[in-house]
Symmetry: C2
Subunit: 209 residues, 2 copies
DNA sequence: TAGTCGTTGTATACGCCGCATAGATCGGAG
DNA sequence: CTCCGATCTATGCGGCGTATACAACGACTA
């Protein structure tokens, strides 16, 4: 079965499930052409409806973009939460980092949408920060367990910022194609994982020092 | 004197310096509205010429974007090179990181343009990687000096990737507004500098271990 | 069962956009 | 002075987001 949200030619005047179809078509289009190629009209075309139909389900194009981003944030939070069961906090830190990489690679469309400048504008996505911030608490809790002793909250936050920035920078640089060019003879994913592993080691050592 | 590239009403049929005016207007517009708000027609309007005039100096809109990005890459490379005179390689590593932050903050328009997805598409900017990669050699040379002993090239590249990803992730997260939301009570720039300092320390220790 | 009304679709239009073709205006070389 | 290439304008095309007006359905109610 195809994953496309094409129109059923036998449908009546009303679609019946247009909202879901629009979201699916949006994710497909984003995966194909990126946020730059995102177009409400093209999505309506793929869903087999008139250009104006989507406006009965989303007030404007940013609302549909926002919906895709929201789903991405929630999926990422789910994946992060799933690792909080791991016993050893040090290996859990590494697992969280690798999961961040995996999510960004597997869900390219969502990840790019989550961080596109149009939605980073607060007036287009007021509660974006709440979504973006959620994984950070998992990170802080893990760092606290790693330390195994009382550590000032500020200290935890500092290393949390280091860890977060590192994985985010990795996937961003990768998406730009920089890594493939700067390290032409190496497979990229292992190289990224290695960077995560090394940083994890450094942070664990620093926290237990 | 204004920095805007407004039309001189007394000019004749030919502008005389339109190319430079277009680039300036483009940087202004990018600073104001970001890549999302970048529009050739708006730039032509600000330069006081007809919508079609820019096409005599740039083949299409990506060419003008590319010009702004190219200037940004060169400015960044200049700033990086300027730090290579510093004697102590460890403090130079920190200085390179801080300079990356400073550049991203001072030259928001250029930085955003350098990394926008439209230009990361290789067909729109074939030699982008050469530009983006240039600061990396400074980084590697600095790491080599820090080690002070023979270290496998791969080892240097790994920590280089860590350092680069960290600063790039920091400025990216900052641009998204995440840092201001996750750490509401702290000034942002010192926090970023602190992350750079900590990471520098960790890498220096690891390389000299 | 017939009428009514809110929901969800379409038709059409407006002003943006990037970009193409054709023509106007200049400055400089012969 | 004349011609020509470089640089400008005028006009137009199709695509975009989105506003207003209207049409079709389904569910509730008399």
């Amino acid at each position: 079965m195809s994953t496309t949200a094409a129109k059923d030619p036998c449908r009546g005047y009303h679609h019946g499930d247009l909202r879901r179809c629009l979201v699916e078509a949006a994710r497909d289009l984003l995966a194909e052409r990126g946020v730059t190629g995102f177009s409400l009209r093209e999505i309506a075309r793929r869903a087999g409806v008139s250009p104006r139909a989507p406006y009965h389900h989303f007030p404007d194009r940013t609302a549909l973009l926002r919906e895709v981003a929201r789903m991405g944030f929630e999926e990422l939070a789910r994946r992060m939460a799933a690792h909080m069961e791991d016993e050893d906090p040090a290996s859990r830190l590494e697992a969280l980092g690798e999961e961040y990489l995996r999510f960004a690679l597997e869900c390219r469309a969502e990840f790019q949408t989550m961080h596109c400048d149009e939605l980073c504008d607060a007036k287009n996505f007021p509660d974006r920060q709440d979504f973006a911030d959620r994984p950070f608490v998992y990170l802080l809790r893990t760092l606290e367990e790693i330390a195994g002793k009382p550590v000032p909250q500020e200290e935890l936050e500092r290393y949390g910022l280091v860890a977060w920035s590192l994985v985010h920078g990795l996937v961003t640089l990768r998406a730009e194609g920089v890594l493939g060019a700067s390290f032409p003879d190496e497979p990229i994913e292992p190289m990224m994982k290695d960077a995560v592993r090394r940083t994890t080691e450094l942070i664990v050592a620093a926290l237990r020092r």
